[in-house]
């Protein structure tokens, strides 16, 4: 089947009107050498059979709902009200709001999203979402380099390793230099920031889950004229001091923890917030309030002269599509919970993570690694290879033990807890771990 509405008669009538004898004729002006290649694809299936095949594939996965896995993605409750509202066809099937008169729904939703991100981060402006946390970091750092006119970046090893890899790719492209500061005892040490540094980057809570006191680092960055960039889990900002309050010039992160399905890593959305002074350096879409011809309040894409379709080679970034639909889900989640609800969800994870930490440390051979205080995730040193432990646990239906790259140390694994966990879930994991590690 396909999704085209044409009847045979209509096709004939239309072909006649355009002066073609058949559908094939529409391609006669293409070079004969490339026309009608042999292509091997599976035979088409009726709708029910496609779904059946998808269910077969899905049955080869063990869903990780209520997982204790972390590392930037966590298992959270996705409220049905958010799913239902975001699934409305008007939101789902719209394009970038180029015609504001009929796109007030998306535009106002973006404006509200920008407000919520600014509130969470303690900064003044936010763009209308990036692809994910890692690319938002790369774009945030490029912003800082444009603003300072410098080509050197210092990044803490406490920043998610995959984010650092993406940052490296983007910086290589423009020929900027990236220096990594190793963690000391699980936290970012305060060292000498080299001259000519345009951006200093840290993460809080860091990749190992530890809380960082970043105000001194912000001061040090500013002293050498660099901008300070903070990667922050937006859920944590329901409880933790926002980056803007301790000196961040730019805050970035990934929105998955705001109730979005894990989806094997995507799509989610990235956020990017900064000070109003840097707004003309921001990549991506921005929505401003304004008035219409009758003086009525309305919303419109603004400062578009920064963008690729006007500035072409001189654009701030090549980003065209963004992650509007998933950002909308994040905004709906924040509105559904409010400041209290968000704080409660964040704190429940914190409490459960601390309880889990106690329980797991009773297992012989397990040692602490992430120093306290930590947030809702922590690393432990295991007596065995974490990949093997993860596999064995998975066979028992438990998803836990996120292997930590060897650059941080041997046999380290992350454990995360969220609002989904109860005491009995923690006990079950501990029991399973005890057996697997015995």
């Amino acid at each position: 089947m396909d999704y085209t509405p044409h009847t045979e008669e209509e096709i004939q009538a239309m072909l006649e009107r355009v002066g073609a004898g058949s559908l094939e004729d529409l391609y006669l002006h293409l070079p004969q050498e490339v026309l009608n290649p042999e292509i091997s694809l599976p035979e088409p299936l009726p709708e029910w059979a496609v779904l059946e095949e998808l269910k077969r594939l899905a049955a080869n996965n063990k869903p990780a709902f209520k997982a204790f896995l972390g590392g930037g993605i966590r298992s959270h409750h996705t409220p049905p009200v958010v799913q239902a509202l975001a699934s409305r066809g008007e939101f789902l099937t719209a394009y970038t709001p180029y015609q504001p008169e009929v796109s007030q729904g998306v535009l106002q939703a973006i404006f509200e999203y920008q407000t919520m991100v600014a509130e969470l981060t303690g900064l003044e402006v936010a763009n209308a979402s990036m692809y994910d946390g890692a690319t938002a970091l790369a774009e945030g750092v490029l912003l800082a380099l444009r603003e300072t006119g410098r080509m050197r970046v210092v990044v803490s090893q406490g920043v998610h390793p995959e984010y650092r890899e993406v940052l490296q790719s983007y910086l290589d492209a423009v020929g900027a230099e990236l220096r990594t500061w190793p963690l000391r005892e699980g936290r970012t040490p305060l060292g000498e920031i080299p001259e000519g540094t345009g951006a200093v980057v840290a993460q809080n809570p860091n990749y190992l889950g530890a809380l960082e006191d970043l105000a001194p680092l912000a001061d040090a960055a500013h002293r050498v004229g660099a901008l300070f960039v903070v990667v922050a889990d937006p859920l944590s900002l329901g409880v933790l001091e926002p980056p803007g309050a301790y000196g961040a010039d730019i805050a970035v992160g990934d929105g998955q923890t705001l109730g979005l399905p894990m989806g094997f890593g995507g799509p989610h959305f990235g956020y990017l917030a900064t000070k109003k002074a840097f707004v003309r350096q921001l990549p991506g879409r921005l929505v401003s309030e304004t008035v219409d011809a009758e003086g009525k309040r309305g919303y419109i894409l603004t400062l578009q002269a920064r963008e690729q379709y006007i500035r072409r080679a001189k654009a701030k970034s090549n980003i065209t599509t963004n992650a509007q639909l998933t950002a909308l889900m994040g905004a709906m989640y924040l509105a559904a919970l409010g400041p209290e609800g968000l704080k409660e969800v964040a704190l429940k994870g914190v409490a459960m993570a601390h309880r889990l930490w106690e329980l797991l440390l009773e297992i012989p051979g397990v040692a602490p690694f992430t120093p306290k205080p930590f947030f809702n995730e922590f690393a432990l040193r295991l007596p065995k290879d974490p990949h093997g432990v993860r596999a064995t646990l998975a066979k028992r239906g438990v998803h836990a033990v996120t292997p930590v790259p060897k650059e941080y140390g041997e046999n380290l694994a992350l454990f995360a807890a969220t609002e989904l966990h109860r005491e009995e879930d923690l006990m079950a994991l501990t029991e399973a771990m005890r057996e697997v590690l015995a």
């Binding site: 355009v18 529409l26 490339v34 694809l41 996965n61 719209a94 900002l237 304004t290 599509t321 998803h399």
Partner: protein, 474 residues
């Protein structure tokens, strides 16, 4: 009346969702100095208020589900409902779960990679990029790594793009550290071959083309272009934004392209969602395969796995494995249509465009490059009419306008892409509406639209005094 903001519906201590029964005391776990002093001013609303707010916003928004949306170069085709059910089957997978417990997801990725390779004529693929422009960046970084590996990285500093190219092409080349040179189009709307020859040389790294191009025309001299670029050691990049017109009929790989990105949210029905998320897989010829970003999905003796061991890789371009749930939708589309269905969809997108072009000519519109168009074409209004006014007039008549003022080489351009999922009567109604607009008094056009949620907005004010958040005092 203005539609309220969610912040204006907020009342102190009104509650929506409560997800936690017993709330832990923060200070038991986190020292005071790390805690937030002031709560964020998020909305405080009950669930029904939330539902009414966003339902109301949705009614102030058009999409393909509500309105004909002939946005040229964006391919706003229908988004099948089956796909939304399909993604729910894969929602609860964590990227760091044991790969043996995600074999279905990895198999789906591997299969989709095979389908896309077959459809583009490429040898290897990455599903990692999160959008078309992200795919472009990935593709250009791959080309850069290739030249560097061959010791020509320093010399090849220029990327050529036609003057009709999408703005993302020059922006991408610039992000990858290249100088951009524009190649003019000839009088027929295709790349001027002589001009291209003058630009080619050992200083050029890549040519970025879309075919059909943004005038909706197939670059008929593509094999010659490919031959010339090969001789000059230049890599040929295919911007896949317009693949919808030729899928199944012709492949970029057979035309001599070395790199292809695909827009799954255009060609393969992943919904645009108000501007994304998208997905931009990149296919490459064998000589570029070593430079693909990590990880790639591979099939081994013990099932499917992620390969991180690519010593020449450009590295990572995104966290985790790309926009996986977008991949599920594209997979479902390809399995539903099969090769014949895809070819039919492509051909009907072309037929719809050609038919609509004839109807518009009849109604008084001009076609500046009137060659055999593919899935889209560029029209101009008769002298004296402003495209912007016609676009706003269309809104009043219940249609979403085409892309306006693009490509830049056509004055007052209306870039129309009806797509294959629109019926003959919709095309006719649209042409009739565009015809009627030419009969309207000038003042009516300049004042349109009248009955939309807002009238024309003050863009200058938004630029000069941007108010970017609710609490922004300006």
């Amino acid at each position: 009346m203005s539609y309220p903001l969610i912040f204006e519906r907020s009342r102190p201590r009104r509650r929506g969702l409560r997800l936690v029964e017993e709330v832990p005391e923060a200070s038991r776990y986190i020292p005071e100095k790390f805690l937030r002093k002031k709560p964020p001013r998020l909305p405080e609303v009950d669930e029904l208020t939330l539902v009414r707010h966003y339902t109301g916003l949705s009614r102030r928004q058009v999409g393909v589900d509500t309105t004909f949306y002939p946005l040229g170069s964006c391919t706003m085709k229908y988004n099948p409902k089956l796909h939304e059910e399909a993604v729910r089957l894969f929602a609860d997978l964590h990227p760091y779960q044991d790969p043996k417990t995600a074999q279905g997801a990895l198999e789906l990725m591997w299969q989709l990679g095979e389908y896309l390779k077959a459809l583009t004529g490429m040898d290897a693929i990455t599903l990692e990029p999160a959008a078309g422009a992200h795919g472009e960046l990935t593709g250009i970084l791959i080309i850069r790594a290739y030249h560097q590996d061959r010791g020509e990285g320093k010399e090849r500093r220029v990327v050529l793009v036609p003057d009709s190219a999408h703005g993302s092409n020059p922006a991408t080349a610039s992000m990858a550290g290249y100088q951009v040179r524009e190649v003019p189009s000839g009088p027929d709307g295709e790349v001027d071959l002589e001009a291209l020859k003058r630009e080619l040389g050992p200083h050029v790294a890549a040519i970025m083309l879309t075919n059909p191009n943004t005038l909706g025309l197939f670059e008929r001299r593509i094999l010659e272009i490919a031959r010339l670029s090969k001789e000059a050691g230049v890599q040929l990049y295919y911007d896949g934004a317009n693949l919808n017109a030729i899928m199944g009929w012709a492949r970029p790989g057979d035309m001599g392209f070395d790199v292809v990105h695909l827009n799954l949210h255009k060609t393969f029905t992943v919904p645009h969602g108000g501007g994304g998320p998208g997905s931009g897989p990149v296919g490459v010829k064998a000589h570029l395969a070593p430079y693909l970003p990590v990880p790639t999905v591979e099939r081994g003796e013990e099932g499917f796995h992620l390969n991180f061991d690519l010593p020449k890789s450009i590295g990572r371009v995104r966290s985790f494995y790309g926009n996986f749930l977008a991949l599920v939708r594209a997979w479902a589309y390809i399995r539903t249509l099969g090769l014949e269905g895809l070819k039919k969809a492509a051909a009907l997108s072309v037929l719809n465009a050609r038919y609509l072009k004839e109807l518009l000519k009849e109604r008084g519109y001009r076609i500046p490059y009137d060659g055999p168009c593919m899935h889209e074409f560029v029209a101009q209004p008769p002298a004296g009419f402003r495209t912007l006014d016609l676009a706003k007039g269309l809104l009043e008549l219940g249609f979403h306008p085409p892309t306006v003022y693009f490509p830049l080489i056509v004055k007052e351009a209306l870039m129309v892409e009806p797509t294959e999922t629109e019926s003959k009567e919709t095309l006719e109604a649209f042409a009739k509406a565009l015809g009627e607009l030419l009969q309207k008094p000038r003042e009516w056009l300049e004042g349109a639209p009248y009955t939309t949620p807002v009238r024309r907005l003050d863009e200058v004010r938004a630029n000069k005094q941007p108010k970017l958040t609710y609490f922004d005092q300006g």
